[in-house]
């Protein structure tokens, strides 16, 4: 009870405030711009020459659409409506592919995004941190320096180029991996071995490209974390005690270095809801990122809001969870 009152409730209040401010900002940004989804849709229709109409009929169409899209009324009314709907878990219909509900569009793509990005986040976290920890602990060795230089050089490569080069290499010149999609055409999604293997094969290049960049980042941050931990008394004392360096590296240095990285990992996993735009573009991989980009281009407020709200809730929630769960990882926070 005391714990609840003293810690959890204030933290929850802050959680809701942060979500509230975040969502409000995201709600307002597109609306304070000249973007008009109705005009966009109308234009797409007329520019594809879809409707051979007397111009006066287009006027009428415009009216009808305003009505249907729920864009009538002041921003304030729209804002209230938005929250009302949100509490029911409804993001409304998509405006660009009216009237498909935003939630079903998101639900359709989310598993792909989540599947790829969570695996990638965890893999690159593990690999990057282990390599970074080793390189930081043996900072004076030649190979450690080479590793650092490689990581420093891979990390800043614009991701698009990295992805494209991988694609050209392994899907075109050596056509080992497929160029498009989440699984082969003609296969039906199932839990068969064939299908799972197929999915992995399709996800391999997207994952590889993301992991390469991810490793670079974790490597660099872990290496610098390690270099401070190495100077801590308990590491020196372990050395004085004659404990072998491999053990010191893993049980003393990395164990302590990983703690702050857990928070970062949680934030990263919380952030997957906005998808990975470039990966999806280059590898034509299913996911939320491209949907969001299309939504932005088409002024699809509801879809933008849907994805952004999920993303905000995702990050805020994982920050909350990691705050609450952190004591499980760090005994220092548990007992003090």
């Amino acid at each position: 009870m005391n714990l609840l009152k003293r810690y959890i409730i204030p933290r929850l209040i802050q959680y809701f405030i942060v979500i509230f401010i975040g969502v409000t900002v995201v709600f307002l940004v597109p609306r304070f711009t000249p973007l008009d989804p109705v005009v966009t849709v109308l234009n797409r229709m007329t520019s594809y020459g879809a409707q051979y109409l007397d111009p006066s009929a287009i006027e009428k169409l415009k009216e009808t659409m305003m009505e249907l899209y729920g864009l009538k009324g002041s921003i304030w009314e729209q804002y209230l409506n938005f929250w009302k709907r949100l509490f029911k878990g409804d993001f409304g219909p998509s405006l660009s592919i009216f009237p498909t509900p935003v939630i079903s569009i998101i639900a359709n793509s989310l598993p792909w995004t989540a599947g790829l990005l969570v695996v990638v986040a965890i893999l690159s976290w593990i690999i990057g941190n282990i390599l970074g920890g080793i390189a930081g602990y043996y900072a004076d060795r030649r190979w450690s320096k080479v590793m650092s230089i490689v990581a420093m050089s891979i990390y800043p490569i614009p991701y698009y180029i990295m992805a494209l080069v991988l694609l050209i290499l392994f899907a075109y010149i050596f056509p080992i991996f497929p160029m498009v999609g989440g699984y082969s055409i003609g296969l039906t999604p199932s839990f068969s071995l064939e299908f799972i293997f197929n999915v992995i094969k399709h996800a391999f290049l997207p994952a590889l490209s993301l992991i390469l960049i991810g490793i670079g980042w974790w490597f660099l941050s872990m290496r610098s974390l390690t270099s401070t931990i190495v100077a801590e008394d308990f590491v020196t004392y372990a050395e004085v005690m004659g404990i072998p360096s491999r053990k010191i590296l893993f049980q003393y240095v990395m164990r302590n270095g990983l703690l702050p990285q857990i928070t970062n990992l949680a934030l990263q996993i919380g952030g997957i809801f906005s998808g990975s735009l470039i990966t999806e573009t280059v590898f034509s991989y299913p996911g939320l990122g491209q949907l969001l980009y299309m939504a932005i281009n088409n002024g699809d407020f509801n879809l933008i809001m849907g994805i952004a709200v999920l993303s905000i809730i995702g990050i805020a929630t994982s920050a909350l969870l990691i705050d609450l769960l952190y004591p499980l990882f760090d005994p220092r926070v548990r007992y003090r």
């Binding site: 004392y237 005690m241 004659g242 049980q251 003393y252 220092r332």
Partner: protein
């Protein structure tokens, strides 16, 4: 019979930072012996080089600290081993022949592991025991003999009080029953009652195992309570060595005298004075006797020549021109 012998040890900090080079003569030409079955106290102000001396004794010589000259011999299986010569010997000696209790036990235990894990690590390395139950029994026995509760083994360092952590560290340092236990200000940050407990623990360990303890602290009260012999260091040099009785009853060096006389006592309100002036910089130590700028008896020769450590009485040595005219040979 000595357990540890230090000869002409010179340990300097040689640093080069952003283009400035400098040499701090933290330990300058120091020789002494630690006998078997004795408690040797080392006293001195902060910055006198006593911690540096300990670092070299446990082989923790990392840049910028480097040993310029001298020897450190440990007795091991009846042989003399110079740890400055061979790093594999040093590795062999660690924890079996000498162990170390550092200052500030807060930071020397891995904050994310339970205490027992650290015991396991130490035992696995040095004794080739791999069975965790066996280790647990061993450690349990040891703690029991030291009068420590067994629950500490399943605790994280942060769950323990400062005094308990310090005692756990002592248990860790004595688990392999080393010949020499080196402690660095092991009681300084503790409250008096706890300090008393820790001192008594060390004393009991010493009387049980008959090993040697090197006890570094600036607290003369602690030395008075524990030490068999005491070394007084000043600005990187030994100025006086003698039995506890000699030092307290008959201090020869003016610095030693100041140290003892400046201490207030409960029940005694007579005016006490500090040692005048401030400790010297080891970067540019004063010429001659390093104490001469603060010494009321300073003579001309004190400013120019360095007095050698000479034996005035049996086992009582002092480096002061008031007591002998020998000049140190470099």
């Amino acid at each position: 019979m000595y357990a540890l012998k230090v000869e002409n040890l010179k340990a300097y900090y040689i640093t080069s930072l952003y283009g400035i080079e400098r040499k701090v003569r933290a330990v300058d030409n120091v020789s002494f012996q630690v006998m078997e079955n004795e408690i040797l106290g080392i006293a001195g102000e902060s910055g006198c080089g006593k911690s540096t001396l300990l670092k070299t004794l446990i082989g923790l010589i990392k840049p910028p600290l480097s040993v310029i000259g001298g020897e450190i011999y440990y007795k091991y299986d009846g042989k003399e081993v110079n740890i400055l010569k061979s790093s594999s010997d040093l590795k062999e000696l660690k924890w079996k022949v000498f162990s170390y209790v550092p200052q500030g036990s807060m930071n020397v235990l891995n904050p994310t592991r339970k205490i027992i894990k650290t015991f396991e690590d130490v035992i696995k390395v040095h004794l080739n025991v791999t069975n965790n139950d066996e280790i647990r029994n061993m450690v349990g026995e040891h703690l029991k003999s030291l009068g420590l509760p067994l629950e500490v083994l399943n605790s994280f360092p942060h769950q323990l009080s400062g005094g308990m952590r310090q005692r756990v560290t002592i248990a860790l340092a004595t688990i392999l029953k080393p010949k020499v236990i080196i402690t660095d200000e092991a009681t300084t940050a503790l409250d008096v009652v706890v300090q008393r407990g820790v001192i008594q623990l060390l004393k009991r360990i010493q009387s049980e195992f008959k090993n040697s303890i090197i006890m570094v602290t600036h607290d003369m009260g602690v030395h008075a309570n524990m030490a068999d012999r005491i070394i007084i260091m000043y600005a990187g040099k030994l100025v006086e060595i003698g039995s506890a009785k000699d030092i307290f009853k008959n201090p020869l060096h003016p610095y030693t005298r100041y140290l003892i006389e400046s201490l207030p006592k409960i029940g005694d309100k007579t005016i006490r004075r500090s040692v005048p002036g401030a400790p010297p910089s080891l970067l540019n130590p004063p010429s001659g006797c390093r104490f001469h700028p603060r010494c009321p008896y300073a003579m001309n020769e004190c400013k120019e020549m360095v007095p050698d450590l000479i034996e005035v009485e049996k086992g009582h040595k002092v480096a002061c021109f008031l007591h002998g005219k020998e000049v140190e040979k470099v």
